[in-house]
Every structure is written in structure tokens, then in C-alpha cells.
Amino acid sequence: MEPDHENAYYEAEGLHPEDEEYNAERTSPQTWFTTLPGHDYYCEVEETYIEDDFNLTGLSAQVPFWKEALEMVLDVEPGTSIPAYTNERHSADQTLHQRYIITKAGLQAMAEKYESGSFGVCPRYNCQSTYVLPCGRSDQPGLDTVKLYCPNCNDIYTPPSSKYQNVDGAFFGTSFPTLFFQTYPEFLSVPFKWYDNPTAAASSTSDNNPSNEPPSSMPTDAYKNTISFPKSPNPHGGTRQPVGKVYEPRIYGFRVSERARSGPRMGWLRDRPVTYDELDKVDWKGRWIGDGPSAGGVSVSSGGGKATEGPAMGGVAGIAERPKVGKGKLFEEEELKENDEEDVSEEEEVKGGATPAS
């Protein structure tokens, strides 16, 4: 492709049917998109869409399509008035592709590409090759390259190949992943660990059960397989079964203690609550509802015995023995040996200091 094409692409906002440039491009929408580097992320814009002038003058045509959905799902404090976003849209720089992929036809085309794995898989090991979706961090061309959104870990990643460095994120835009997964919630993982909690799962479908307690013990694998996947009370949060777990670094099978400076700090980033209800217990300011200002001494959370299993650790008496920088107590107290080949004496040896063998 010639560089001219790319420039035209990035300046597409000023594109109007009466422009010569537009007409030149317009004759071959296929080559327009599909000759660019990284073109495999793009979908072909239907010619009927391009020929409809209405589509090029703003998103007004799409507004009725999303109005109801938007009001239901926007995360605004109760009572906030939603400004007329059509105006916002008019002033924003948009590309044809960005607009097209959030139309019904465009979403469908992208869903086909998504389902066939055209956009690749999440690089995160514990996402178990969940398919990712291209997105932008800006709706304005020329600011940022395309990123990949994973609907399982709810995070964004840099594409693996440098050929996508030439793909502008504005081709997809900031709203695309959300609108896509609103339309196809079956690809989006629910925000709770469904498999840990069959009782809550049962009660969450009949959502008037405030006295619902998290189960005291985890179901066995066999039991997990027999229970059916609980429906999320709100399908906008996804309906897919989440995959993977949270990784914990270990030395000779021992988890590193929180008290070490190199101890676990990021478990919360990938964790999710056992039940959907638990999400509703967090208020707008990020506190437990009903706990008052000093809330949060005890975490209700996360059955999995993760880095977040606070209470046991928090209650440890030895607060006085403040760890020195870089040292500290390296291992958790009650550790089980999980690794295979190291023999016991070796383990004991490193437990004290975890200094490298010389």
C-alpha cells in the first residue's frame, strides 16, 4: 500500500462523499481496508453502508439501537443526568470502520471473525487461550495503536506482532469491546467464580435471598461437574464461565509471605468474588455496604485461599517484628509441600533464608 492511503485513513474524519479523495477510496472499500498492514483485524465494510450518506455524518442512525441498553448499563451515580451523547459523537473524530463495527451488521461481521479466532488469544497463561478483541484507547486517530481486550481477565494487551504497530486504535475505538460483549454476552466471563459456589448460584437466580451465606466448603470436582452453570443476574456482566486462576509465585513449593517486600501484592487484580451478590456489597466509594466508614477489617472474599486470605494473616501476633527491607519473613506459615522432586532436607534448609545456593 502507499503511504497516502494511511494518511487518508487517519484523517478520515473530514471525509465527505463530495470530496474527491472520498470518491477515490469509495470505489474499492475492500482494498481500502484489506491492503493495510495488520489488515486481518479489520472487517470489510459493506458497500451499502458506505454508500449511505447518513452513516457518514454521525452516529445518529445508531442511537436508537443502543439507547435502551445504554441507560441500563452505564455506571453513573443515581440521579446523574446523561448528556446528549449524540453531540459528543458529532464532535468526536471517527473513522468509518469504527462506526461501522458497532452497527448491527458490523458487530455480526466482527463476531464471525472473533469466533474464528482471527484476533488471536489472550497472552495471559491462566486465560487458557480466551479469544481477544481489538480495541482502541482513544477514539481519535493518530494517538494510539490497537490493543487487544480479553473478556476473561478484563484487561488489555499489546498485540504480539509488530505489524499491528501500524494499526490505529481509532479503527476500533473505545466503545467497541463493550458494545460487542453487550451484544454477545456469551463471550464475556461472569464477574464471579461460579464453580466455587453452587448454593449461592441457586439463590442468585431467585434474587430475594439476603441471608444467603457463602458455602463453608468447596464442592468436589465431581460435584462441580454435576451442577449447572448459574445464570448471572445481569447478563450485561457476561454469561460465560470464567476460566483460570490466580498465579502465586513459590520457592521450593512455598508461597512467598506478604511480609516480604517481594511478597504477593497483585492477587486482587485477577481475583473475583465467589458470588455475584458480593459485588453488590461494595458501595460507590469502594467500601462494604453497611459496614460504615471503618469497614473492611474482614474480607468476605474469595474462597480460593489466595493471597487475599487476609484474616488469618492479619491476625498474626508478631506485628512488632518489623521486617527489614528486602528481607522479612519469606514464607507463609502453614505451607504444604506441593512440589515434586525436592527432598525434605533441602526444603528445610532454604526455608530459613532462601538464599541462593553458592
Binding site: N154, I251, W268, I319, V325, P356
Partner: protein, 242 residues
């Protein structure tokens, strides 16, 4: 092929088995193991259960025996086993002070690649195995900033046995090099539509934020500083993501 070849830093290094091995495409994650370490049988305890003809393999790796002088029908198997042995010794070596230092250099060079997570801003990765036994799982990459595991991008790397790096390496590395411990980012990606956050996504993010503040409170109560320090979190950034 005498001893003088080994102890001498000759310019013609492509003759050395280890240098040839390290030069093979896909072997970029491995560091150079000292001959002395390989020849010390104490370091190799138990490895004769993983490969046959251990003494011959050691001689091949340390250039005491030229593999080309071995019977032709054995060469492929010997070369294969020598590479397996090198990997298994490697997992032990990189937990020693010398090995850690060599891996630190490679880490600084970005030899293991950078975290693909946007919010980690190209933080360098470390190789890690999920298991210490060979032939169970392939090598993964650990990011100390988000504390998560990633798959290698290249197919050449994703077939390497994770046991050649071991499950303890990243934690040992960070324990040893406190200068490599990052200040973690508390940022999360929040999907938006037309500039608005979405309720369902934000709920999970708020819940996660609460987990983090619990962790910080717990650490603070133990006298561990968490705000804008190494091993803590960046706190100056506004809550708005991106």
C-alpha cells in the same frame, strides 16, 4: 581438545558446545553455565535418573569429548540428551549466586521479553516453569509488576521445557535482587461506552480495589509501607484509568 581450551577465553568460541547451544534460535532464555559448576558432580545429584550416559554427556557439554567422534548412530541421541541435561543443570544453576547474576544481566537486556499487559508498560519478564519435573509443561514468563504468567510469543520459546528454569526462579530472583522489585500499579482497565463507565464492569473493578485496600491495610498494620514505595503501589495517579 584439551583443558586449555576450556579455561581459556578463546576468540574462536563457536567451537564450544555451550556456545553452539546458546546460539541456537529459541535458546535465548538460557544463560551460560560455568564449566566448573557442570563438572562438580555434587551439583548433578539425581540427574542420572533423567538422562542415560551422564558422564559422556558432561564431557560433551564441557568439550572434553567431541560428539563427532562418537558412533554416528548415537550422535543424535547424545546431542539430544546433552541439551536435556544442560537444561536440567540450568534450572539448578540459575538459583546460585553466579547463575542469578547472569540471569539478572539477561533480564536487564530484556532477553526474556516484556509484559504484554498495557498497564505494565513494558516491564521485563522472567522465565519460569510450572513444574520442576521435566516433560510436564513448557516454559512461561512471569511479570513481577502484575505478578502474572504469560505465554511466550514465539513458537520456538513455547516448546522449551519449563523444568529448565524451574518453579522457584522468579521468586528467588526477586528475593535476591531487591532492586528488581517494582512499585506496582493499582490501575485497572475499565471498558467504557461513549466515555461512560459500565456498571457491571465497574462493580468488579470496585470489588478488586477493595481487595487491594484490604491488603494495604493489612500490610500497614504490620509496619510495611505500601504507598509509592518499592514493593508497594503507585498512589499518585488519579483513579481514572488509562
Amino acid at each position: 581438545m584439551g583443558d586449555e581450551y576450556i579455561s581459556d577465553s578463546s576468540s574462536d568460541f563457536t567451537d564450544y558446545w555451550i556456545d553452539l547451544f546458546l546460539g541456537i534460535k529459541g535458546n535465548e532464555y538460557f544463560c551460560d553455565i560455568d564449566d566448573e559448576y557442570i563438572r562438580d558432580r555434587f551439583n548433578l545429584t539425581g540427574l542420572n535418573q533423567e538422562v542415560s550416559r551422564l558422564p559422556t554427556l558432561i564431557d560433551i557439554i564441557t568439550d572434553l569429548v567431541d560428539i563427532e567422534l562418537q558412533p554416528e548412530e548415537h550422535r543424535d541421541a547424545l546431542e539430544h540428551n546433552a541439551r536435556v541435561l544442560y537444561g536440567l543443570i540450568h534450572a539448578r544453576y540459575i538459583l546460585t549466586t553466579r547463575g542469578l547474576n547472569k540471569m539478572f544481566e539477561k533480564y536487564r537486556n530484556g532477553d526474556f521479553g516484556y509484559c504484554p499487559r498495557v498497564h505494565c508498560q513494558l516491564h521485563p519478564l522472567l522465565p519460569v516453569g510450572l513444574h520442576d519435573l521435566p516433560r510436564v509443561s513448557s516454559v512461561k514468563l512471569y511479570c513481577s509488576k502484575c505478578e502474572d504468567l504469560y505465554n511466550p510469543k514465539s513458537g520456538r520459546h513455547s516448546v522449551i521445557d519449563g523444568a529448565y528454569f524451574g518453579s522457584s526462579f522468579p521468586a528467588m530472583f526477586l528475593q535476591n535482587f531487591s532492586q528488581a522489585i517494582p512499585t506496582h500499579s493499582a490501575e485497572m482497565y475499565t471498558p467504557k461506552v461513549f466515555g461512560f463507565k459500565l456498571h457491571e464492569y465497574s462493580k468488579l473493578n470496585r470489588w478488586r480495589e477493595l481487595q487491594r485496600s484490604h491488603l494495604e491495610r493489612r500490610l500497614t498494620s504490620k509496619g510495611i509501607e505500601t504507598k509509592n514505595v518499592v514493593g508497594g503501589f503507585t498512589h499518585n495517579a488519579p483513579k481514572e484509568n488509562e
